[in-house]
Amino acid sequence: MDTPNAPIPEASAPPGTPADVNRRLGALLEQIAAGDQAAFAEFYELTSRRVFGMARRVLIDVELSEDTTQEVFLQVWQNASKFNPEAGSPLAWLMTISHRRAVDKVRSSQSSTDREAKYGASSQDIDHDSVSDEVGSRLEAEAVVRCLATLTDTQQESVRLAYYGGLTYREVAEKLNAAVPTIKSRIRDGLIRLKTCLGVS
């Protein structure tokens, strides 16, 4: 949007809602693009627990997760000017960068046996933390719980193994002993169902 001089965003959306957070992040990205370190620090304070939390789910290892988090925020610093609001929200932009980094790292730094053991572990503790209970509105969190429940168990399992396990669809298929095309369909259908339920437009 071409609203660099939009009025104080906090005034127009209830604090803490995703829309409000995203508006604030978008404004900060503009300042970061101009080299504003204070804006960068605020951006970090608002989002680093999401980035690190996701990295920990994918990578397990604390140091690798810290490295990944550092790389992600360096990328934010360097690429803030390339953020395009029409291509998605600031949070989706950030989490896309973060997930890709984490996945690249997990695939390059861990042997398959290693990962086998680790994603086994990580898939156990996914259920109770896949929903934010600290950021965003209560309503949003409830919507996620409700919408995740509209997926079939196998759809949920496939999407989660890919997201937090860092697995390719092929690896998901191997792990679940399912046909490769089936897993692609589960991921596609699961995400589309989730999107529709959440009203993502």
């Binding site: 627990r49 690190f52 000017s81 890709r100 390059s108 095309p181």
Partner: protein, 296 residues
Amino acid sequence: MTDINAQNNGRVPGGFAADIATDLASGRAADLAEVYALDAVDDAERAAIEGYLLSAPQAERAAFDERVRQARETLATSFAAEEEPPAGLLDRIMASLPSQDTTAAPDARPAQEPPAVPPVVARPIRESSGLPVTDELGAARKRREERRRPQGMRNWLVGVAAAAIIALGGVGVGAYVANQNDPLNQVLQAGDVRQATVNVTGGGTATVTVSPSKDAIVVKMNDVPPPPAGKVYQMWLIPKDGSAPVSQGLMDAEALSKPAVVKGISTAAALGITVEPTGGSASPTLPTVAAAPLGA
């Protein structure tokens, strides 16, 4: 929808094949958007999808992009694990912040006519310091950014003759390729390298080693047949902003065996390789014989 796949031949409406290439060939690119957004493909598959989209019809590309965007919003909303990062991490990051390569935001730049368009030049680069190449690419980037406007990937084919294109390598690309132990090893030995291998139409593969910190990639062709008589391979960087691809030089039969260094990748979305008449072209002749995405 359930996850039933009646048949695996990849041609059944609603059904995926076992491999991405067959999905693409059977017109299912948009159906791969969710798997792609989830990073549930390997590097070669990602490159195959992005390479396909480079020359796909605008409508198909738009449908794919829209589904990817929605899937990413959905994921960011739904998978929201949080954990406090180690104390002091912000300080360490702040201490390591490099200077930003964009000195001014695009909208802060005064509107102005693009500078005179340099002709396409074919000349070998003698890269003693590495700086000339970077400067020229940087200048080309700046010109592109000044011209920047919303336009689809398709549009880079239109009016490209008027675009500022600098052929860095010319016939002597081997020049900036071979025997340059310095830039080559600097990239290959960087701490942050990532590697992807993509198939080359006609046989063989291209291995792309990316180092964001060096702002460079190394392209190595493996078992790729020499170009047909009267033709060469030409490398391009496809800018993220949708502007015209920028030639990174040519590879003839001789240069094919040597790794090539391509610099100034931070604003590029992808590397593409095409077959062009000897001497190279000002704009790529599609389809690409190989394409590799460069970073997020």
